[in-house]
């Protein structure tokens, strides 16, 4: 079966924003437009419902999950970890970015594997790098790093280099040895 994507009507960011706010007015915390992509900050408790709505809605029709990742902001207390979802609607030709902020004491958000199967490994990678727990994920364990690693390497407090290496003298690399 051959499927084709023809662009139907051109969507603009105001329509998207107003449609989401219609249904989830209290959960959209802030919004901005970065380089033509509407970026919304949504609350962590309703992230699953919002994404499910976005996928099933006829007008918005976000059929494709492009990317899922995490960011660590150690300075913002109570909002240290951000989980960023990039959605793409092919028939309506727009991209959307959703951000969910969670605190460091309890970094967890509901997993969207049931909505998009492709989120499976992307969530495992985010867990592996940042330690964010995705509730309801079928197999949340480390994917890229070694299984017995006991820290989450992409967090800002950890260095890039291996702390136990003894063959490279940091002074020659412009880094002070700690």
């Amino acid at each position: 079966m051959i499927l084709t994507l023809t662009k139907l009507e051109k969507m603009n960011n105001d329509i998207i924003l107003s449609r989401i706010k219609e249904h989830f007015s209290s959960d959209v915390i802030s919004s901005e437009v970065n380089f033509d992509i509407l970026t919304l900050e949504i609350s962590a408790s309703k992230s699953y419902e919002i994404i499910e709505f976005l996928k099933n809605d006829e007008i918005l029709d976000c059929s494709f999950l492009t990317l899922l990742g995490g960011v660590h902001y150690p300075e913002d207390l109570n909002r240290e970890f951000a989980i960023v979802y990039h959605l793409h609607s092919w028939r309506k030709d727009f991209r959307l970015r959703l951000k969910v902020f969670v605190p460091a004491e309890n970094p967890s958000v509901r997993s969207i594997v049931k909505i998009y199967n492709g989120a499976n490994w992307m969530e495992r990678e985010t867990y592996d790098f940042f330690g964010i727990i995705f509730e309801g994920h079928p197999n949340l364990k480390r994917i890229l790093n070694m299984d017995d690693m006991d820290y989450f390497p992409m967090r800002k407090q950890y260095a890039l280099e291996d702390a136990t290496r003894e063959d490279k003298d940091d002074r020659f690399f412009g880094r002070s040895s700690n």
């Binding site: 890229l144 790093n145 070694m146 390497p153 950890y158 260095a159 890039l160 280099e161 291996d162 702390a163 290496r165 063959d167 490279k168 690399f173």
Partner: protein, 185 residues
């Protein structure tokens, strides 16, 4: 069988006089069976070296052996991460004597540009290496140069190398038990 070239021989009409070591060294050097342990970008350059433009089969390396039991030369091309380290060591231990290791590329020799928490900074942390080929990735000509250096080593090495004390001591520093080498772990 004709005259053996490139050897210190005493030639006469219908006979040659040489040492067995030299004859064995020549035979070994010109028919090395490599095991390409190709992980990343250097693996593609290794495939190009095996291709028709920079032909490696002129050096007797036509037959790649993917089973360590039948291989002489372990060519490690590409980044070795800490997760892959035990696998590499197991493959090395499964090879039977005599064996040589060629480390192709900057990542295999010393970690390369990836001075990170997950990359092993050189395979000589876990296995002994004979020849290092630097480059990122090295050109096929450089890989061939590395192979020719391996041939030089193979030709001139004593066939009793594995019983020497120096070799035993080297393997001890890597925690490789050479009495069990070649058997199942």
């Amino acid at each position: 069988m004709g005259k053996i070239e490139d050897l210190e021989v005493i030639n006469g009409e219908g006979y040659q006089l040489t040492t067995l070591d030299k004859a064995i060294g020549l035979a070994r050097a010109n028919s090395v069976w490599p095991l390409p342990f190709a992980t990343s970008c250097c693996g593609i350059e290794f495939m190009a070296t095996m291709g028709s433009m920079y032909d490696m089969s002129r050096f007797g390396m036509e037959r790649l052996s993917f089973s360590p039991r039948q291989a002489d030369l372990l060519i490690v091309a590409g980044t070795i991460s800490k997760k892959l380290g035990p696998v590499l060591k197991q493959v090395y231990e499964q090879m039977s004597e005599p064996k040589w290791v060629l480390s192709v590329g900057a990542c295999a020799s010393s970690g390369g540009i990836f001075d990170t928490y997950s990359v092993l900074q050189g395979i000589d942390r876990i296995i002994p290496v004979d020849v290092y080929v630097p480059g990122c990735p090295p050109r096929p000509e450089q890989i061939i140069d590395g192979v020719m250096n391996i041939h030089k080593l193979v030709k001139n090495e004593s066939s009793r190398r594995r019983y020497s004390d120096e070799y035993r001591h080297l393997m001890d520093t890597y925690d490789i038990d050479i009495d069990k080498t070649g058997e199942n772990e």
